[in-house]
């Protein structure tokens, strides 16, 4: 579903961020990428999203080569096939919860009634059906991240990219959000890349990769469990 080949990226010649990254992700797989600060986790995520262009190498998503796309084509691909969850929620304050969730459907020109039904169903799935008409400032951090998850998945993306989704949450809310995220992606068969510092969050993934200067190093199946224990 997602293949990165010989991917390199640097912001200055003296400071390469990513060097010769190779990585393949199957459809429906859920992988967590961990690593120390400054190793390029977020850059990797941005490259996968087509928000940044690599210096060399290729990124293929569902058969589409991202590096060969212009900005509009990459945006179109993001709109149809990707979902995002951010650390800082980024729920639009002037829209209601339901309107926020429905945004990707609107952008994909989904018919109004169908969009409403999908939104309500997604809100129910994340446990916020009764908050559909609330404003974001009326929600807790955990609830806002649920809204963000609902928004990321409402249009049935093929790939979900989550950047530190529990970074702003307390441990209890973080666990609950990660559990919800896993449930939802597994239910919908969405492929997911999670970038996180949190071992608890990473533990919800199918496999964990450690990003280092040497590239992405797979961690053993027991790693998350070890960390969990």
């Amino acid at each position: 579903m997602l293949t990165l080949s010989h991917l390199s990226k640097s912001y200055s010649s003296s400071r390469p961020i990513l060097q010769d990254i190779n990585f393949h992700l199957n459809a429906g797989e859920y992988v967590a990428i961990m690593g120390e600060s400054g190793t390029g986790k977020s850059t990797l995520l941005n490259l996968m999203a087509g928000l940044e262009t690599p210096d060399s190498g290729s990124i293929v998503i569902d058969g589409h080569e991202l590096a060969q796309m212009n900005d509009d084509q990459a945006t179109q691909l993001r709109r149809e096939k990707m979902g995002f969850v951010f650390q800082a929620f980024h729920v639009l304050p002037h829209l209601s919860v339901a309107q926020n969730v429905a945004l990707p459907l609107l952008l994909n020109s989904v018919e109004k009634q169908q969009a409403q039904a999908a939104t309500m169903s997604m809100l129910a799935a994340v446990g916020l059906a009764d908050r559909a008409h609330s404003r974001p400032h009326e929600l807790s951090g955990g609830e806002m991240q649920r809204v963000a998850i609902a928004r990321a998945l409402v249009h049935g993306p093929r790939l979900l990219l989550a950047d530190e989704p529990t970074g702003n949450l307390d441990p209890e809310s973080a666990d609950s959000v990660m559990q919800l995220l896993r449930e939802q992606i597994k239910q919908s068969g969405t492929t997911c890349v999670l970038v996180t510092h949190s071992t608890r969050a990473a533990a919800t993934a199918d496999r964990v990769l450690l990003l280092t200067m040497q590239g992405l190093i797979p961690q053993g199946d027991n790693v998350p469990h070890t960390i969990q224990s």
């Binding site: 928000l51 993001r78 990707m82 979902g83 800082a88 304050p93 002037h94 952008l107 400032h137």
Partner: protein, 844 residues
């Protein structure tokens, strides 16, 4: 101390990060201060020069006995001179001489050299050496002394001759010397009084007698004493009264121009307000964090006010420097007349005025501080815990939605419209406009909420995002909306007022110009006229079917006010409305009888300034006599701001014996073309090519051209205010786009293209501007009504009908909506230059 250092760092950081925003605020304040300061300096220089000229003419006199422009009998002179309280009495003849080829008249003062040495030493001429050799002295009937400014203006040198028009004749005067003590820009000529009376056909008449009283004489008591012995229309005034009277000539015009110049400062203050509001909204969480960390409310207010202070200080200083330079350049290149015609011919230099400098500095600083005060207070009032949270920005602006303060301001504005002028200036009217403007701006958040919350939500993605933004963040939207409202309403108000005035003047001219051909003895001065003989010639000129003659002169109904114009023209007593555009009731014609007062018709200004109402009787000074008259009606007059009275020409001639006229309106015989009649007239009147002859169409065109020229500065100041307003709109959109960079980042992540964000912003800009323009049009119309029905009648004493310049308003509205959409789109582009990735990584 540490807090101060932190504040400084905070301030510096904000200015560094958003230098353009700060610069726009500084420029707006600078432009506002510069316009106001420049207009003040120009008017100040002109009126100072004018006052100095008045002082210089009155010299050392303790009192001046002044009559009508025609003058009064010189026999008053020995009567006054013999009074025991009078040390010296100096008679003066004042003539506004028409110089052929010049559009302006030359003021010629006829003095008694022996008396003037004591009373008006500045008026004494200095005889050139070569004249002495030729035996020409100051008493020679053709000897004229010119001030240096007059010599320069007329491009003459000592020994040259100057042609002046008297009646239809040309008389030559000899430049015998200079008037070295005349003011720097004062264009005057001085002659011996007897020579002036003789050469200008004013024998037996003087315009004023300046009195130097003996030491110890109570001036006020003496003034009352001689008032009873002076003929009607002649009064004694002090030099201070004279200066006040001179200043009154242009006061309303100067005050109006100053107020107009301050409009740019008002829009500048509003620009600072909108940029500061958006700036503190953008930094709301940062400021809340500082509060959490222990910064007091008072310190936070001081910090934000310090930003405003810096903008105000920089803007004011730049504005003062710019204003001074503009004033100096204008005075140097085009003189002191800003279009009103009050100071044409006056060429003063700019003078530093410390009080005005302090006042305009304070106004600039005050405007910037006022613009920062509301956001500072709101930020300090906000709960830090809530302000730290995402999405609280709209809460910050929610408080603005309360309509109560706005409604109180608007109601107060309404009440002030019914208050009369203060010190003869429409101060309550101006305050009403300011309150109405501030009240309407304060009402905008409510209006934005009311309108946009009921707006149907479209399904197209960019439109959907735009409309939901306006619905959900109406408070933030209203900041931009208010900027549009302020600039468009002021523009619309001025456009409606000027159009109403122009159309009314045009209609009035149509009414006032019934004849087929008009002729003036000269375009300026009071020395040219048509004699009785000339009138007969005109009537018998081939092609002229009939003619109506008009005599125009000045009389004084109140020595402390500028003289009013007395127009003697044929009026049909049974139908005076055939010649005068009356407003209100007109008295039926009075039977001709020696016991009944004769009818005069007062212009609106004369009625307003001198308390004349239909049916009122008063004594009209006419030459050496005064006559009981009754006001038969009030007519509209846009030509004479200080008032005019119309009297039937036959009555005037009967009462004064004055057969001279200054203008003629003529009807042509069937088949005569105007050009042919013009040639015939010139031929009949001694081949006179100087005669000012025009068809009504030409007079109308010329009058409207003068009208437009007199409003040039108004248009210029208004354009500056609009440009500052547009700056405000751009700054407001720019500030909003900057504050929404994270929103754009998120939208880019979820698949919204740059084009769609641009389109969304353009739609927001267009919708917002459309609402702003519609509200601005309504507000502008109300302000125009105040200008037309309150400010104008109180300032200039004339009324007009309201006319809407729909074409102009709709073109400006369309341009503004288009410009706003483009500006919003450009602001978005600038905000999107912040990478989407970086934007979403920022904390809310």
């Amino acid at each position: 101390m540490q807090t101060t250092a932190l504040a400084f760092t905070f301030l510096l950081g904000e200015f560094r990060a958003h230098g353009k925003r700060v610069a726009i605020g500084v420029i707006a304040i600078a432009i506002g201060v510069a316009m106001g300061y420049a207009v003040h300096l120009i008017n100040y220089a002109a009126s100072s020069e004018f006052s100095q000229a008045v002082r210089s003419l009155m010299g050392n006199a303790d009192l001046t006995v002044r009559g009508t422009r025609i003058g009064f009998n010189e026999q008053a002179y020995p009567l006054l001179a013999r009074l025991p309280e009078v040390a010296v009495a100096s008679p003066v003849v004042e003539i506004d001489a028409h110089i052929p080829q010049q559009s302006e008249a030359l003021k010629i003062i006829g003095i008694d050299y022996f008396r003037a040495q004591t009373v008006q030493p500045n008026m004494l001429g200095h005889l050139a050496d070569e004249n002495m050799n030729e035996g020409l002295d100051a008493f020679h009937p053709n000897a004229l002394f010119l001030s240096p400014a007059a010599l320069t203006w007329l491009k003459l040198k000592l020994g040259d001759t100057l042609a002046v028009q008297v009646g239809l004749e040309i008389r030559q005067l000899h430049i015998a010397g200079t008037v070295p003590a005349a003011g720097a820009g004062q264009r005057i000529g001085v002659m011996d009084i007897a020579a002036a009376q003789w050469r200008f056909d004013r024998l037996g008449l003087v315009q004023r007698i300046d009195l130097k009283l003996r030491p110890g004489v109570d001036i006020a008591a003496f003034q009352s004493k001689i008032d009873s012995i002076l003929p009607t229309g002649v009064a004694a005034v002090t030099p201070a009264d004279g200066e006040r009277r001179a200043a009154n000539l242009s006061r309303a015009y100067r005050v109006n121009l100053n107020v107009l110049a301050l409009v740019a400062l008002f829009t500048g203050a509003f620009l600072v307000f909108s940029t500061q509001v958006l700036s503190v909204v953008r930094r709301r969480s940062q400021l809340a964090l500082l509060r959490v960390l222990g910064l007091t409310r008072a310190s936070l207010i001081r910090w934000i006010l310090a930003e405003g202070t810096l903008i105000g200080v920089l803007g004011s200083i730049s504005g003062l420097l710019l204003g001074y330079a503009v004033a100096a350049a204008v005075l140097d290149y085009s003189g002191a007349d800003l279009g009103g015609g009050y100071f044409s011919g006056v060429r003063p230099t700019v003078h530093f005025d410390i009080w005005a400098t302090v006042i305009f500095f304070a106004l600039g600083l005050g405007a910037a501080l006022l613009g920062s005060l509301v956001p500072a207070l709101e930020t300090a009032r906000a709960q830090p815990s809530r302000a730290l949270k995402a999405g609280d920005e709209e809460n910050a602006l929610r408080r603005l939605r309360s309509p109560l303060p706005a409604l109180v301001l608007i109601a107060s504005a309404g009440a002030l419209c019914f208050v009369g002028p203060v010190n003869e200036l429409p101060i309550p009217g101006y305050i009403a406009i300011a309150l109405l403007l501030i009240g309407s701006i304060a009402l905008m958040p409510r209006l934005a909420y009311a309108v946009f919350s009921h707006f149907p939500t479209p399904t197209h993605s960019a439109s959907y995002l735009a409309v939901t933004q306006l619905k959900g963040a109406s408070g933030r939207a209203s900041i931009g909306l208010s900027g549009i409202l302020a600039s468009f309403s002021l523009m619309a108000a001025m456009a409606i007022m000027v159009t109403s005035f122009r159309v009314s003047v045009d209609e009035w001219l149509g009414n006032m110009l019934p004849a087929e051909l008009y002729m003036r003895a000269a375009p300026s001065g009071d020395t040219a006229y048509f004699s009785a003989q000339d009138q007969l010639i005109i009537l018998s000129t081939p092609g002229i079917a009939r003619a109506e003659f008009l005599r125009s002169t000045h009389i004084s109904l109140d020595p402390l006010r500028p003289a009013i114009t007395l127009i003697a023209r044929p009026i049909d007593p049974a139908n005076p409305a055939a010649r005068l555009p009356f407003i209100g009731a007109v008295l039926p014609s009075q039977p001709l009888s020696s016991t009944q007062p004769i009818t005069v018709w007062a212009s609106e200004a004369a009625a307003d300034l001198h308390g004349l109402v239909v049916g009122k009787q008063f004594m009209l000074p006419l030459g050496a006599h005064s006559q009981s008259v009754i006001v038969g009606g009030i007519w509209r007059d846009y030509a004479r701001q200080h008032g005019a009275l119309v009297i039937n020409l036959a009555d005037y001639r009967r009462l004064t014996g004055d057969e001279r006229v200054t203008e003629a309106g003529m009807w042509l015989q069937a088949g005569t073309i105007p050009a042919q009649a013009v040639n015939n007239l010139r031929a009949s009147l001694h081949n006179n090519t100087r005669l000012d002859i025009a068809e009504p169409g030409e007079v109308r065109r010329l009058s409207l051209k003068i009208f437009d020229r007199s409003f040039t500065v108004t248009y210029l100041l208004e354009a500056v205010a609009i440009i500052v307003g547009l700056f405000g709109i751009a700054a407001s959109f720019g500030g909003q786009a900057l504050a929404r960079a994270r929103e754009f980042g998120m939208l880019r992540h979820i698949g919204v293209t740059r084009r769609q964000i641009g389109l969304m912003l353009a739609i927001e800009g267009a919708l917002l501007t459309t609402l702003g323009v519609l509200a601005g049009l309504l507000l502008g119309w109300v302000i125009a009504l105040i200008l037309i029905h309150v400010v104008n009648p109180q300032s200039f004493h004339w009324t007009m009908n309201t006319h809407m310049p729909w074409v102009l308003l709709s073109s400006v509205a369309a341009t503004l909506i288009f410009a706003a959409a483009i500006t919003a789109w450009l602001s978005g582009r600038s905000a999107m230059s912040v990478q989407a990735i970086r934007a979403v990584r920022d904390d809310w």
